[in-house]
Symmetry: C2
Subunit: 162 residues, 2 copies
């Protein structure tokens, strides 16, 4: 549970049995300069953002073979301080509640964050990247070559609230 565990006016929840359809293994940790939610930028910046470290479990290091050649990586991570029962929520600064799936909020039924980051370099089982906005210590779930040209970063049709 996060420091955002309290319900705000207009927010709604759904109680379901405990989640157990599949199980995850944390494969590493993400190190960022962001110690609190207030520290986190709204969106990571792969150009001007701070360097962050993706510390992979050293036992998995052979699986990094060839990653060096990828300029952009997609990272998936577990937003472990999120509540998972919000159907509608009210982001700070919004004028009313919104459906959870219309937001990229960390509070969601399966709190998996995704970012596309620029790979600066690899140091053994550690990747130095730029473009993250998550808390320091966030558990890593997956990393793979990015598919789209995130360098463009246009928010396109989705607008600022996406």
């Amino acid at each position: 549970m996060s420091d955002e565990a309290e319900i705000r006016p207009g927010e709604t929840t759904l109680d379901l049995p405990p989640a157990d359809d599949a199980r995850l293994r944390f494969i590493g940790r993400i190190r960022t300069p962001f110690q609190t939610r207030d520290d986190c930028p709204r969106q990571g910046d792969p150009e001007a953002g701070p360097d962050c470290r993706v510390e992979l479990d050293p036992r998995l290091e052979p699986a990094l073979e060839g990653v060096e050649g990828k300029g952009w990586l997609e990272l998936l991570y577990w937003l472990d301080r999120s509540r998972r029962d919000l159907l509608t929520q009210r982001p700070r600064g919004s004028d009313g509640p919104r459906g959870t799936f219309s937001l990229r909020s960390p509070q969601r039924p399966n709190p998996i964050g995704s970012s596309v980051v620029r790979l600066l370099r690899r140091e053994g089982p550690v990747l130095v990247v730029r473009g993250l906005d998550c808390l320091d210590g966030t558990p890593l779930l997956d990393l793979k070559p990015a598919r789209c040209d995130q360098g463009v970063r246009a928010r396109a049709e989705n607008g600022r609230d996406g």
Copy 2:
């Protein structure tokens, strides 16, 4: 386990205790025309690909409020027929083994697939989208507004093998 459960020459595995650092809830199912791995395209096509259905658990329908206004969505799903112990693997047609994290193969420690799709319309708890490449019946984990302009779809610096 998939029909790709067998190890090919050059592939390596790592045995670890069962994964249980976090637990997922399947929030729906993805319906595609692809019944076998051979049916699946190498990459979804949000322009010319077939219409697919994202069938959300109806209890979660209130969380879709506002999704209609998003032209592009990011979908996360569970590749439930994947093996999870491959450190290096040899994709069909490749000339040698590659590190799992340098590929977007479904075989990975946490087999979470991600796609950015074009939203065509919503029908209650069902979203009709274009751009998927996963098997029919794939469990849905999350959906959120896409962040980057996937309309561009440049493979950029990562090249074709990404």
